[in-house]
């Protein structure tokens, strides 16, 4: 679904100044870095972490929306939601593949997710109690994801940038789908309008937190910007998102739950109220309402599937052996 402002990467690196300068020169010429190119260890590590977190977010992100597939209110909605969640799985798949080009296996990354070592986006640690949450996630969460990911299409690392181009196309479709759900609710009964407003209240602030800590507190932004892994600061993207989204809320006749939200004629952007960073820190460190449930569900799927994966491997070995025997017999 989307990458968050990167959580806790270590971009320290030990290469010679000459090597780093040559690498930086390539970056500055806007050349794409490909998997077999020489690259600083810190660059590789930062990307593995970022792409890994992004992939994990797609996979964990299937759960809150998956919560409504069996209860979707119409056949059309049911099919669209299942297809959307399937898209997220697909994003996970090619992001894991992009990370694998940097020498880390999907199994390793999965283990890190399941053990709680690897992070994923904080947004998926909130529950989806109503159908309107599905609309709000599409509209706001996928909307924020697009803001984050459009610049990633120009990321200096080739496989990541190319994966993002396809991901962004799909996310943009998801975002419109989510907004259309909200529109249907906003034009519906009083009960439906209220459901939509409550979902907006629930998802507004967590969506703003998706862009990561404020620039003054973001520890890994500078180096990532210099290496052109990211192109805009967390606060810049957050402002852009707010400015794009507030008129959409107005069009729906819904109220953004920020009394301090104010149009700034000078900057041509909305100024927003104080974000509760203590909530963000709590969720990132494992204390959101759904953190434990999400990891439990991922672990259960993985553990329940162990015998299936073993069976597939065992069967593949048997087939290979049989072919070998058949070939020897033929010779």
């Amino acid at each position: 679904m989307y990458s968050q402002g990167l959580i806790g990467a270590d971009s320290s690196t030990t290469e010679s100044e000459e090597f780093l300068a040559a690498f930086q020169a390539r970056i500055d010429r806007e050349e794409k870095i490909e998997p077999n190119d020489p690259m600083p260890e810190g660059y590789r590590r930062t990307l593995v972490r970022q792409i890994g977190q992004h992939a994990h977010s797609e996979i964990v992100g299937m759960l809150p929306e998956g919560n409504w597939i069996t209860r979707a209110p119409s056949l059309r909605r049911k099919i669209a939601l299942l297809a959307k969640v399937q898209d997220e799985g697909g994003h996970g798949l090619y992001l894991y593949s992009a990370a694998e080009t940097l020498g880390v296996s999907r199994e390793q990354m999965t283990e890190e997710l399941l053990s709680g070592k690897a992070k994923y986006s904080s947004i998926f640690n909130y529950p989806t109690p109503t159908w309107a949450d599905i609309g709000a996630i599409g509209w706001l969460v996928d909307g924020a994801a697009i803001m984050n990911q459009i610049p990633l299409c120009r990321c200096s690392f080739g496989p990541y940038a190319r994966a993002m181009i396809r991901v962004c196309k799909e996310e943009s479709f998801h975002q419109r789908q989510g907004y259309e759900i909200m529109m249907t609710l906003a034009r519906g009964s009083e009960e439906q309008k209220q459901m939509a407003q409550e979902a907006l209240n629930r998802w507004w602030w967590p969506s703003l937190m998706m862009f990561g800590p404020s620039d003054t507190d973001s520890t890994n932004s500078d180096q990532s910007m210099k290496w052109k892994i990211k192109r805009f600061s967390n606060d810049e993207l957050r402002q852009k998102f707010i400015t794009a989204t507030v008129p959409q809320a107005e069009y729906l006749g819904l109220t953004v739950p920020d009394p301090d939200l104010k149009w700034n004629e000078e900057t041509k952007l909305y100024d927003h109220g104080e974000i509760d960073w203590s909530e963000f820190k709590a969720v990132v460190s494992g204390n959101g309402q759904m953190n434990r449930d999400r990891i439990r569900d991922r672990n259960q799927a993985w553990d329940d599937g162990a015998w299936v994966r073993e069976a597939a491997l065992a069967n593949a070995r048997k087939r290979a052996d049989n072919q070998h025997i058949a070939r020897e017999a033929a010779e």
């Binding site: 996979i59 299937m62 759960l63 998956g66 597939i69 069996t70 209860r71 979707a72 209110p73 119409s74 056949l75 059309r76 909605r77 049911k78 099919i79 299942l82 297809a83 969640v85 399937q86 799985g89 697909g90 996970g92 798949l93 894991y96 999907r106 159908w131 759900i181 249907t184 519906g188 009964s189 009960e191 439906q192 569900d297 259960q300 799927a301 993985w302 329940d304 599937g305 162990a306 015998w307 299936v308 994966r309 073993e310 069976a311 597939a312 065992a314 069967n315 593949a316 048997k318």
Partner: protein, 253 residues
Amino acid sequence: MAAVETHVPAILEIADDCLILGHRLSEWCGHAPILEEEMALANMGLDLLGQARALYAHAGEIEDKGRTEDDLAFLRREREYRNCLLVERRNGDFAHTMLRQFYFAAFMQPFWRDVAAGSTDATLAGIAAKAEKEMAYHLRHSGEWVIRMGDGTEESARRMADAVIELHRYTGELFMASPARQQAIASGLLPDPESLRAEWDETIAAVFNEAKLEMPEIRVMQKGGRDGNHGEDMGHLLAELQFMQRAYPGQTW
């Protein structure tokens, strides 16, 4: 002869099969054993839900009483759903899910092929032409998994054998023709399921042979779904499926 109102119940039987099995597959979303299977299970679920949607819309049109696809899918009583028992069986483990899919697809792929080739209902033949391709994929995919699990590890072989014992008894209903179905067969709308039995037997036997699975001897086949006599899991499935439509009646989503 084009489709007439008396054909509606026969079309709904098939639509219900697709809806209920599609719903069951969608329950896997986020919980599959590997990422590739997340994609595959969702794909198969989407195919079936798409088929259900086309069939409900078609039945609603023939019926001409203003019932929409959603009225038919979400707003009938349990007894009015006429899906076979096989498709409502709970997912169980991956062996149960894949075997259920295999049994169903082994029937539906040739079924749709014959509808596409010979139905007197042109709309139905059109739905069938697309559905046949989809079911051919389901058959290949589920058949490969039955083989992998049947001839995989000791544990997977045991689980596959358990699934066969559990589910084989629900396959008889695929070949039964309800009075509504018999009428549709007589007017050339649908093929006689009995005519597909030999081919189904062959498909199952070929895969079981490769999977090192034994064909069970089932003396009494279970039936009831086509008469609206469902198992206890069905009510729970419908409680979820119908939740929004029942909790907020008459609203647009």
